[in-house]
Symmetry: C2
Subunit: 289 residues, 2 copies
């Protein structure tokens, strides 16, 4: 069971929640039909990216995890197709709200959930208004096909998160995402920066990485944002092995021999030579401990 085929998807989302779920399911079926075993949908695919604005009405979009409609829907899909599905969703938990991924194994069982640790806040990305910073810590799930580290969008900018998942045994890193234009400055196109940061995680941790991003233009009260797609799969030296364009609904896939990747990773020696005794500056915000 050393060989695994992973897939990334990207799609546009409307305010028709059932249509978005159906579109996601269609992409999953397409990926599974071509042999994918681990299939990644993008972040918060059930709705438009509501964090584009501050609006209390959007808290109504969240659901408690046991019985979350997206989880229930995709459990049946995972079981039928025998695929592993990380499902990104808006979670309500008593008086708190989180940006969460639930990991569904290939038999449809729920392996657990991860709550996004790093929460952005800026023009067009008002996530600190909606989500508490996650309290689960980083998570690696032992699925039917691979040990999967999954983190969410803004997490992808943090080498600490990728490294922690690798140290915890991840064999593949997964990132559902929603990123695009910067409403305050149309001159910024962060897509290259975004890809290179994650290629760096793949390269430094010597393991494949899958990123699924949203496409399409979405309008809010204060303007509109265009999500730049560019979903990709990186190999264990950080090289891009598959990549989508900026605007097409797409399924990408790639296969990796995880035993071969592990042998290369261990022979390369970076995990042997780490110096945790010197890493204390990482445990502070200002590097002063």
């Amino acid at each position: 069971m050393s060989k695994v085929t992973v897939a990334a998807t990207q799609m546009a989302c409307s305010w028709d929640r059932a249509a978005n779920v159906a579109r996601g399911e269609r992409l999953i079926r397409e990926a599974a039909a071509s042999g994918a075993q681990v299939i990644l949908l993008q972040e918060l695919f059930e709705t438009p990216y509501f964090c584009q604005e501050h609006s209390t009405r959007f808290f109504e979009l969240a659901h408690e995890l046991p019985g979350h409609p997206a989880v229930e829907h995709f459990r049946a899909v995972a079981r039928e197709l025998k695929v592993v599905l990380p499902v990104s969703l808006f979670e309500r938990a008593n008086n708190s709200y989180f940006n969460t991924v639930v990991m569904l194994d290939a038999d449809g069982s729920v392996l657990g959930h991860y709550r996004k640790s790093h929460i952005p806040e800026g023009p067009g990305y008002h996530e600190k208004f909606y989500f508490s910073p996650g309290d689960t810590g980083f998570k690696v799930f032992e699925t039917a096909y691979a040990k999967l580290g999954v983190a969410i969008c803004w997490d992808q900018w943090f080498p600490e998160c990728a490294r922690a998942m690798a140290l915890m045994g991840a064999e593949v890193l997964l990132y559902p995402t929603a990123i695009g234009s910067e409403p305050h400055d149309p001159s910024i196109d962060s897509s290259g920066h975004w890809q290179r940061t994650m290629q760096g995680h793949a390269a430094a941790n010597v393991m494949p990485l899958v990123a699924s991003n949203r496409i399409g233009t979405e309008s809010g009260e204060r303007g509109s944002m265009t999500f730049y797609g560019s979903s990709f799969i990186a190999g264990p030296t950080g090289e891009k092995v598959a990549e989508a364009d900026r605007s097409s609904e797409t399924v990408l896939s790639a296969s990796f021999d995880l035993d071969q990747v592990r042998r290369y990773r261990h022979a390369w020696g970076v995990f042997r030579d780490r110096r945790p005794d010197l890493y204390y500056p990482l445990l502070s915000l200002d590097g002063r401990g």
Copy 2:
């Protein structure tokens, strides 16, 4: 003093130590003549890469730091040209040996030294035979032109090291290097992996990065190694802004407005949103704390 011009150099090295030092000085003068203020020579440029083999006679190449001939030589060059020079050298310290960089400021003064923290060991790269893992911790030097984080070769594969220097106030990351072919497996060309890992550090920490690597083929008792050059300068989104080929003696340079880079870095928000409370897995080797 917000604008700074940095340069990378690459050259081949022989067993004529004086010739290597003279060649390094010539490249520094060439870089300074074109406006460079911070000029990076490659790792252990005074000699061939002796770690290609285990040989006790090579311990004789090391010198104590106060009075190290390379430091004395380049202090005068730094002062004359008003340039900052990180000088890579083989350091003896009583009964210990280190792979060390001494940071020379633009007035020729010694700002301090950093001892390589991560020490590789593998066919052709027998550094664990020669060097103790560094005991200085990561270092950032406040020079005349910029706050410089400097680490050495194998350190460049560790996101923890780059992040620590960034947290400690580095504005530019510098890596003198000696890397090339893998004698046990000629099919491995790690140059892309090597560049992408460091591009990831630049991207994740939103700051420029300079890597200077050796060129040329060097023969040892057990065969020969070819160093692949490919020295480069990355900008603050990890993009390559200058790059050398695999075999030419080269001086590369690039200019950055460090205030502008800092504003972009801070506006991007990654340092604001770090979660040190979740990073404890980084302080162990097996991710289990």
